[in-house]
Subunit: 71 residues, 6 copies
């Protein structure tokens, strides 16, 4: 019965990777809480990096700031 929503940045995520996320989180819920995979629903949202913000910046700008910081 669980419902899981995974939001990730829209960056060429392959179907294989999506399948891994779906299978992985379904198994995690089965192992941890004994949830039935047959009624475990997973939805993956891919979000444009201009539509996602962290530390007051869009991810695009946030990464630019990070890139300029000394290693």
């Amino acid at each position: 019965m669980p419902y899981v929503n995974i939001k990730i940045t829209e960056e060429a995520v392959t179907n294989e990777q999506k399948n891994k996320l779906i299978a992985g989180v379904t198994s995690l819920l089965q192992e941890t809480l004994g949830k039935n995979p047959k009624t475990t629903m997973v939805i993956i949202d891919e979000i444009n990096i201009d539509n996602w913000g962290l530390a007051g910046l869009s991810v695009r700008d946030y990464r630019e700031v990070l890139a300029k910081q000394p290693a």
Copy 2:
């Protein structure tokens, strides 16, 4: 005042069908709880079948498994 989010698979849903969902759920809330349609908000998300998982599989793979099962 209700807010309703309907997630369905992205499969050529027509505007007419969307309007039916919006009108239908708005009436349901009015009849069941006396909610005011004017402040009833409905958002429909259409999700790619590779981004939706059930029983540990993407909907694409889930349907392939179903198709192979004896009728």
Copy 3:
């Protein structure tokens, strides 16, 4: 396969009313899009009226403003 999230204000909604919402939206999706009730998931969130805002006010204050307006 649909997923529906219904958010309503937390105001003594009965289980009977919740069942009506669950059954009603499941039938609506079956009639409108031919969706299988067995994999239609509905979640109802009941939100405190101080945690819900409209027109820049909490629902509590919004209703007070409405109540003061001439009929």
Copy 4:
């Protein structure tokens, strides 16, 4: 630590406007609750006007009704 999801209609919103929303809501949470901008996450969803309903109508139809009403 806050998570904010802003849903707006999909109507040519610029990156500059999105940045303003991200920065603005992050500051609001810092000023109001002392939340750390570094762990404040904001996601903006842009919704097609045929996928958004109000008063039982899609936003497209809702606006047509409004436009026909006497000023």
Copy 5:
């Protein structure tokens, strides 16, 4: 940067189990997509079984129907 929302039924889930879900999904995202655990956010919602519907029934009623079915 991922955001994960896990909705489960409200049935005495322990903090240990919640920690396992948080750690598990964070590792899954790191292994599958190389996501940074430091900015991976997970929120677990526990939903009352009268507020969760499947197959047109609340989970409470759904389980009663299942229990009456021949093994």
Copy 6:
């Protein structure tokens, strides 16, 4: 027409603070995108610190780790 969902940790947030968040985000959307406050909906979810994860830990454990780090 915007819909905003703000998730914060459940830590004695006052109604006054909630009102500030509701009013603040409504004004932000009006100033930034010209959105009509009357149809701007805001929902605030308060999440238990054991139900919120960051860096693979619950917020409770995350804060304990932070507290042990040299200033």
